[in-house]
């Protein structure tokens, strides 16, 4: 079965492993993520000011493209894209006036945007359509012995009306990991922000965040964590370099995309090229547990 898919910029660059693994996994599960045509950047961060229609255009243009291509849904992997597209859609379609204004702004487009396209995160597809029980059946290499924490960050859960699960006590990632056979661990900082775009202007802030989040995971017994956001992955993984410089006692911890681990468990295997996109080397732990 085909699922219309919106990738977003980072999945074509720093997070190529996220996408590749997803493609493999979905194929194993009998689905095909079919990339929509002519997509553009989602705009990344959602603008929260009430009068800012301009800053919603990037997102809306993608939805309009989808409408044009007769897609009634977009499946998204990146938490940030998911969040921004969802919120932009609601913001624009909440009142007709905004919708009209946005359409007027995009007067050169061939059609006027109606607001018919749903935005779904891949995790929701896995949980609700494929179901974790089915995934469990498909597991070839259970991730047993792997102690792993699910890290949600902000964008899967906030604002609460777009949360893909209970916004204060989600279990969707943990449930997925359990179905893959892993020992999934709930750690205190799993819902806390990684520092996001502050990674540029306030690097010290993100370093401290990484330090606290990774330590929180370690204290709870995690050997690795998983995420679904490339920005979280960047901050929590790549920034471990600076974190170790800042805090001498800091120990590295691998950070996976959930699709990577799914690929390992469902028999799709691990691609060497993925390792290059990680800072904290994920291979030792996978080898140690006999997974690669």
């Amino acid at each position: 079965m085909k699922l219309p898919y919106y990738p977003g910029c980072t999945l074509k660059a720093n997070a190529a492993n996220f996408e590749e693994a997803a493609m493999r996994v979905m194929k194993d599960l009998g689905y095909e993520l079919q990339e929509m045509k002519d997509w553009v950047c989602c705009g990344t961060v959602f603008s929260m000011t009430n009068d800012d229609l301009m800053l919603q255009l990037a997102s809306i243009r993608n939805l309009l493209r989808a409408e044009e291509q007769n897609l009634n849904e977009l499946v998204v992997l990146c938490s940030m894209c998911y969040n921004t597209l969802q919120r932009a859609k609601k913001f624009i379609t909440e009142d007709e006036e905004s919708l009209d204004k946005v359409n007027d702004l995009m007067y050169k487009e061939n059609i006027r945007y109606k607001g018919s396209v749903d935005v779904t995160h891949l995790l929701t597809v896995l949980k609700d359509r494929i179901t974790f029980d089915r995934i469990k059946e498909k597991v070839e290499k259970p991730l047993s012995l792997l102690k792993i924490g699910g890290y949600y960050g902000c964008l899967l859960l906030r604002p609460k009306e777009f949360a893909i699960d209970d916004f204060e006590d989600p279990t969707i990632i943990e449930d997925l990991l359990s179905s893959l056979g892993a020992e999934s661990i709930v750690f205190p900082y799993r819902l806390e922000c990684c520092g996001a775009y502050q990674t540029i202007t306030k690097k010290d802030v993100t370093i401290k965040r990484t330090y606290e989040i990774i330590n929180s995971a370690r204290k709870s017994g995690c050997e690795a964590i998983v995420t679904s956001c490339p920005l979280c992955a960047f901050n929590l993984d790549q920034r471990q370099k600076e974190t170790a410089e800042e805090f001498i006692e800091f120990e590295q911890m691998p950070v996976f995309y959930f699709t990577e681990l799914m690929s390992v468990a469902l028999g799709g295997g691990w691609d060497k090229s993925w390792s290059k996109l990680h800072y904290a080397d994920p291979e030792p732990i996978l080898k140690e547990k006999g997974l690669i």
């Binding site: 720093n14 000011t49 902000c154 906030r158 819902l191 996001a196 775009y197 202007t201 802030v205």
Partner: protein, 135 residues
């Protein structure tokens, strides 16, 4: 120095602008501090998120517009989801950033990003930061 309060300062035009942009009534806040206690980056702020609301209530808009806090905020929405009075603090932060950005006041000068970082940073970080922090 004493802060002289008058009825013209309370809900002055800038406060009204903040309320308009954020869609929040700053007087809904009853200063419980939940927003500040949950904010992941509060340690780096010069005034706490609850004080931002408080200063807005007092009409002390200069203090908040010039604060470091609004640029430290990473828009994680923790405060907004936890506020018992339903104040979307993150939207207030965004409004304050916007007022500055629209005057071309921001904290991120693209020219100043370190080259090494620029090569490594994912697009998501760059675009996000430009949108939130560049005036």
């Amino acid at each position: 120095m004493s802060y002289k309060m008058t009825r013209d300062i309370i809900k002055n035009s800038l406060v009204q602008k903040i309320e308009e942009l954020s869609g929040q009534n700053v007087f809904d806040c009853y200063q419980c501090g939940n927003c500040s206690s949950g904010c992941p980056v509060v340690d780096y702020m010069d005034i706490m998120p609850n004080q931002v609301l408080r200063l807005a209530q007092l009409g002390a808009t200069e203090d908040i517009l010039n604060s470091e806090t609004i640029w430290i905020c990473s828009a994680c929405l923790q405060c907004s989801t936890r506020c018992p009075k339903g104040v979307e603090v993150a939207k207030v932060m965004e409004a304050l950033r916007s007022i500055n950005l629209r005057k071309r006041i921001g904290t991120l000068d693209p020219k100043k990003i370190e080259i090494e970082d620029l090569q490594n940073l994912p697009p998501i970080a760059l675009v996000g930061a430009f949108r939130k922090l560049t005036g």
